[in-house]
Amino acid sequence: MLNNSIQVQGLQKSYKQLHVLNGVDFEVEKGSIFALLGSNGAGKTTIVKILTTLLKQDSGTAAVNGFDVAAKPDDVRQSISLTGQFAAVDEILTGRENLIMIARLRHLENPHQDADDLLNRCSLTDAADRAVATYSGGVRRRLDIAMSLIGKPKVIFLDEPTNGLDPEARIEVWKTVKELAANGTTVLLTTQYLDEAEQLADRIAILHEGKIIANGTLSDLKKLFPPAKVEYIEKQPSLEDIFLAIIGKKEEK
C-alpha cells in the first residue's frame, strides 16, 4: 500500500447502456511512470476522470496517494494535478500569468518565484509575457504541463499529452515527463501511441473494451509474444528519423 501511489480495484462505470469500464484493476508504484495504452473509446479518459475526482465510479474502489477518491476527494486533489486532453490554459492571459494564477489557487507562498522557476525549467522564458493565444501547439502544451507541476504534486495525470503535437514538441514533452519521474513524481499517462508508451513507461497496461488485458513492463509484454526471429534486413531510416535529422534536433540517445 505505502509503495503504491495509485490503487484501483474492480472499477466499473457505465453511461446509460454503455459499459465503459468493466472491472479495471491496477496499481502504480510510487515514483514510476505508468502508461495506459488503448485505442479511442477504450475508457482511458474515464479512468483518469475518476482518479482525478471529476467523475464518480459506479462500483469498485480507487485510491490516490493513499486517499480514497470517493471518500476523500479534497485530499486527493491536494496530492494531484491533471493535464487533460485539451490544453487547459487561459488564452488571454500570458504564460507567466497562467502560472501565477495556478500558484495562487494552490495557496503557495511565492507565486511569482514559482512561476519564474517553471518558466525556466520548461524553456518558456521567451514566451512568458506573450498572450497564450499566440503560442504554437507545442509551447501551449509545455505551458499546460508546467501548470500541472506547480506546487509539486505527488501524482501527475497526463491524458494523451502529445496528441496533435509535432515530433519535435513530442520529444520535448517526453523529456519533461522523464525528468518528473526522476524527481520522484508518480506519472500516470494515457496514450494511443505505442512508441510513446515504449519510450516513457516503467509499466504499461493495455486497456481494451473497459478491461485491462495486459499489464507489465515492456519486457514482460514482449514475453507474451513468440520469441523474436533473427533476420538480417537493411535498416531504413523512418520518415521521423529523416525529419528530425534535417531539422537538426534529433534526440540525443
Binding site: R77, Q78, G84, V89, D90
Partner: protein, 255 residues
C-alpha cells in the same frame, strides 16, 4: 491539512482578477458594455428626445434608469460568453481537479459580473452628468439605487450562467440577452406608458423593467417611491432565486 473552505474568498478573488483581465483586454467587451449605451443615450437625448413628451424638462434624468438597465443586460451577455469559453477550453476541468471549492470558478464569474457591471454603470452615470443629469437624491437613496441595480445584475447573471453552461455554440450563447436588452424599450424607460396602445401598454405597465425603472427614477429625483420599489425588489429576488436554482442544477450536471 488546509481546507478548501478557508480559502474560498481568496480563490474567488484570484478568479475575479483573471476574468477582469479578460474584460480589460477585450476591446469588443468594452465597446459593447459602455460605448454602445453611451451612444444610445446621446441618440435618445439629442436626436429623439426633442420629440418625446415626458412631462419633465430634463430628458437625461428621465432616460438614465433605462440606459443603466440596458447596460447591465448587455454586460451579462459577456458573463455567459466567458463561462461558455471556460467550459469549452477544459480550464474548468483543471480547476475542478485542484484543491479549491468546486463552486469557486462559478462564483468567480458571478463576482466578475457584479464588479464589471458596477464599473460600466459608474462610467455611464459620469457621462450622463456631463450631458446634464442632475439628482437631488441623498446618500440613502443612492444606496437604494445601487442595491436595486446589484440585485438586477445578480438576477440576470444567474440567467446568463444557465445560458453559458448549456449553450452548444458560441453564436447561441449570447442570444438569450437580446430579449432582455429589448425589454426596456417596451417599458416606461424611454417614453411614458400612457402614450402606448392598450395591449402594449398593459404589457409595459406590468413587466418588471417598468417597476425597476420607476423606482430608480423616483429615488434619483428625491420623490417618494411608493410600492414600485417593493414590486421591483420582488421581481429581482424572484428571478434570481429561480435562475439560481436552475443554474446550480445545470452546473452540477454539466461542469
Amino acid at each position: 491539512m488546509e481546507t478548501t473552505k478557508n480559502y474560498f474568498f481568496s480563490d474567488m478573488s484570484v478568479l475575479l482578477g483573471r476574468s477582469m483581465r479578460h474584460i480589460f483586454r477585450s476591446m469588443d467587451t468594452i465597446i459593447t458594455v459602455t460605448i454602445t449605451p453611451i451612444a444610445m443615450m446621446l441618440l435618445f437625448v439629442y436626436v429623439f428626445g426633442g420629440a418625446i413628451q415626458t412631462g419633465t424638462d430634463n430628458y437625461v434624468n428621465y432616460l438614465l434608469p433605462g440606459i443603466l438597465l440596458i447596460t447591465i443586460a448587455s454586460g451579462i451577455a459577456y458573463t455567459a460568453y466567458r463561462l461558455f469559453m471556460d467550459m469549452q477550453s477544459g480550464i474548468f476541468e483543471r480547476f475542478h481537479s485542484m484543491p479549491i471549492a468546486r463552486s469557486a470558478p462559478l462564483w468567480g464569474h458571478v463576482l466578475t459580473s457584479l464588479v464589471s457591471n458596477a464599473i460600466s454603470v459608474v462610467v455611464i452615470i459620469l457621462v450622463a452628468l456631463l450631458m446634464g443629469f442632475r439628482s437631488s437624491a441623498g446618500v440613502l437613496s443612492w444606496l437604494a439605487v445601487a442595491g436595486i441595480l446589484a440585485l438586477f445584475t445578480l438576477a440576470l447573471t444567474w440567467i446568463a450562467v444557465i445560458a453559458g453552461l448549456s449553450a452548444t455554440s458560441v453564436d447561441g450563447v449570447g442570444a438569450f440577452s437580446y430579449p432582455i436588452i429589448f425589454l426596456p424599450f417596451i417599458s416606461s424607460a424611454f417614453v411614458p406608458t400612457e402614450s402606448m396602445p392598450s395591449v402594449v401598454r398593459a404589457f409595459a405597465e406590468n413587466q418588471p423593467v417598468t417597476f425597476i425603472v420607476d423606482a430608480i427614477r423616483s429615488l434619483l429625483a428625491g420623490q417618494p417611491v411608493g410600492n414600485d420599489i417593493w414590486i421591483a425588489l420582488a421581481w429581482c429576488f424572484g428571478i434570481m432565486l429561480v435562475a439560481y436554482v436552475f443554474a446550480m442544477r445545470v452546473y452540477k450536471k454539466r461542469a
